[in-house]
Symmetry: C2
Subunit: 500 residues, 2 copies
């Protein structure tokens, strides 16, 4: 099944909601989205007569597209359901998935040594790696994540297994073998022994992805220097050269890169001490050839204005990880300033600095954390009122970051993120729960058939009463939704997850 695609042309009918630009959701009702057998959206057409929609589809759409109306798969959203672009997780550590929620009162540097390196190191075991990676992929798909930029570990075979599993599951993924060859900073039990080793292992992981998905159609390699303090200058410089010179595929001009930047105050001090010749943290990456249009910088909590300007000039993007930044007490990222400077921003769950594998949870926290930047009493006291207020991110904005924003950061803006003709069908079908007209607490006792008290329904926590506008439904989804609201998930037209 690994390389199979949906073999039929498909039509999706119902309500479609997507971001058309930062802060603006488009609501398209009574619409048909036509997806060809290669997973590409080839038509988006209003359907006036939903009563006779199947007739209309066969008579007009198939005719127009020269499709065989008898060999067609049709998916109709039920009343109240809507299609939404699949979520894009621009920063997630698959091997740390078992540690989600476990961080105590640590902050970045002690968290790495106490929780993270021991867990990552243990994934040298292939059976353990398979168990962890398979559960992580299944969980992220269930949350509606159609694209994930994964950090793996420094081990080649387990990293290759992660790529295999993504391809098998049908999840669009970037898979990065982690480079960490600094012999002072990294623990002896978990490091590359030299820049040579880091590069050789990296090439082996890149070559594996090239062997299983030659055009990087679904799975792509990504160069992954862990972060500046864990890498030697030689390692970073050679990765920078590899980034630009990779001659693997005709259509692949540059390899993408992912790393961390300016997450935590102690980390800033460490970088400053280790790289005295560089003007800034961002300059460390820039001098080593690692800042490009396909570079994803995780966190960027504490960038200076000069660094933001440099990142913008290079066209690099930021993975904003609010769950992680709050959990590890790292700080509140200046998302509005990044956006204003023209830096692309996506969302990252950053499992397990982040406690949740859900991009919806990251979107929710992105809105809440942006409010913390806007609080007027006792903090950000020197920021003018208007600028503080502007820091707040709306529901529409965080959903943009979760879809188009992430696509842009990963260089996929021309392939996924919305429902435009020409994009690929990476989508989720979202359903919210409708409250019964008379949900009487006593009623349940009398007809409970052995149950006592209220019984659980698994339609999720969002309760729709019926009078809400579509905008309100979306807000209720963002602040109360979870994987139970994700009814189906597709990547490149292929159904990769569903729940009853």
């Amino acid at each position: 099944m690994a390389s199979s695609h949906h073999k039929k042309n498909q039509i999706f009918l119902g309500t479609f909601i997507h971001s058309v630009k930062l802060g603006e959701l488009q609501y398209m009702h009574d619409m048909a989205v036509c997806v060809d057998k290669f997973g590409k959206i080839v038509a988006v057409e209003p359907q006036r007569d939903l009563e006779n929609v199947m007739e209309n589809v066969k008579e007009t759409l198939c005719q127009k597209l020269a499709w065989d109306a008898h060999d067609l798969a049709v998916t109709i959203a039920k009343e109240g359901q809507f299609f939404f672009p699949g979520f894009i997780d621009t920063h997630i550590h698959a091997p740390q998935y078992p540690n989600a929620g476990i961080f105590g009162k640590s902050t970045l540097l002690d968290w790495l040594n106490k929780y993270t390196f021991p867990m990552e190191s243990s994934l040298a075991s292939l059976p353990k790696a398979r168990r962890v990676y398979a559960s992580c992929i299944r969980r992220t798909l269930a949350h509606g994540t159609t694209t994930a930029a994964y950090y793996a570990t420094l081990h080649v075979e387990p990293t290759n297994l992660l790529a295999d599993l993504c391809l098998a599951a049908g999840q669009r993924a970037f898979v990065g073998r982690v480079c960490m060859d600094d012999r002072d900073v990294n623990p002896a039990y978990y490091r590359d022994e030299s820049a040579d080793e880091a590069l050789a292992r990296t090439r082996a992981a890149v070559d594996h992805v090239r062997a299983i998905d030659p055009a990087f159609a679904l799975v792509s390699p990504i160069l992954t220097p862990r972060f500046a303090p864990s890498c030697t200058r030689e390692c970073m410089a050679r990765l920078g050269a590899l980034r630009r010179s990779y001659g693997g595929g005709g259509d692949v001009e540059e390899l993408p890169v992912q790393t961390h930047i300016a997450e935590n105050a102690a980390e800033l001090a460490l970088v400053k001490a280790m790289f005295p010749e560089c003007d800034s943290y961002a300059d460390v990456y820039d001098r080593h050839g690692l800042l490009g249009a396909r570079t994803v910088l995780g966190h960027a909590v504490h960038l200076t204005d000069a660094e933001i300007s440099l990142v913008a000039r290079r066209g690099a993007g930021v993975a904003h990880c609010p769950c992680s930044n709050s959990a590890l007490t790292s700080g509140e990222a200046p998302v509005r300033r990044l956006l204003d400077a023209g830096v692309g921003v996506g969302l990252g769950t950053d499992v397990s600095g982040g406690y949740s594998a859900s991009v919806l949870e990251a979107a929710r926290q992105a809105a809440l954390v942006s409010n913390h930047r806007a609080m007027p009493v006792g903090k950000w006291a020197d920021v003018p009122d208007g600028e503080r207020e502007r820091a707040r991110l709306s529901v529409e904005e965080v959903l943009h970051l979760a879809t188009r924003g992430g696509a842009g950061v990963l260089g996929l803006g021309a392939r996924v993120g919305g429902f435009d003709v020409g994009l690929e069908w990476d989508a989720q079908l979202v359903g919210l729960g409708l409250v019964a007209e008379r949900p009487d607490v006593e009623h349940e006792y009398e007809h409970g058939h052995g149950h006592h008290g209220t019984r659980a329904t698994d339609r999720g926590n969002v309760d729709i009463f019926g009078w809400e506008t579509w905008e309100e439904r979306v807000a209720k989804w963002v602040f109360g939704g979870d994987d139970r609201n994700v009814k189906k998930v597709w990547v490149r037209g292929r159904l990769v997850h569903e729940r009853e």
Copy 2:
């Protein structure tokens, strides 16, 4: 069913976890907790021989308690499950439940006028109130909330209906008719027309609860001046007098009170302008006789040291509402300072300023928000490092606030909040999901019986791999759990919710 109790003596077997003091969870394995037919815990006994536990129970425990071993209900926690005290929500607006997640970019005062007053006003309709209240109670029970301090609306009959429904559902509750008689601040369409009317309606609501639950064994009335700006001095003074003089029941010395305090900067300014004769916001309540040992103050984000000291002297408690405070950009409450000053603190969901009816979500956000108070860069810059670090709340601390802390704030510390002999059995059975040894993504395709891709399981989002310590399991539950992990819920020994 409304007034029935569990008619049998009960024994609960397995792992019990509860807070013994702020910051300290006790893990009791292989334990039996014996609950008599009145819902009271009468024995907590270790069980050494779990293999033959039923024999042991019958031979020793029943003999010791003089119980009939043949007329006994036994509940055994499965492997990996644990009993935890029921959650206590010290601040929730039941009529605002349909608005959960809907708040846009509003802050307190515009939020009240835009979203809240219109919704509350519409609950004059009894059928609508029944639908909203029944769904709210079912949802909070499903989240493990065994006690809720509810604000209702200013309408008497719908408020009484809320009390009826709580009693029927078996949820321990405080039900407050909201007083708001200021003719300048409150909208003409939603206010008490005079202090006389506010008091008369309040008495009617109190009398109703007295009629349906004379000893306030499960449901209690609570005096509820909305907040200082919405009440006249006369109204507050007369409520203060009623608080101390209520002669309703022999065992009820004082009526409890709930209100809001110091939530938002604009509100602070309003109070200062409206009550120039008072020394502070807290002093407004104190001068009108509303600050007592059974007073619950919602929010308390911006209290001065002098106010905290006054609140502590009066023995009043605080309902900390982190979800709401982040959503409405109100601020970051000084929880550690309150605790250090000896003020009791519980958690409130504050639906719908808060977007979630889950106390577990409030606990999670309480931890995260406490981290925001500790962030060292750009904020709280004048706070010494050590004090900032002390602001952080641990998993153990937020679970204390969610149980014993809330019980103390509501004057229930001698009745619920833990598993001590003499307390009542308000509890939840928590179960986390175990990851299969070989959760292969491809496997599912081959045996999917028509399913494509991964399938959803409804064991919730917490994935346990089996190597986690109990402390780590609890952390994973706090940061990843939801209502799916709440398998059963009891109040006073009665099973009030379960899921398959």
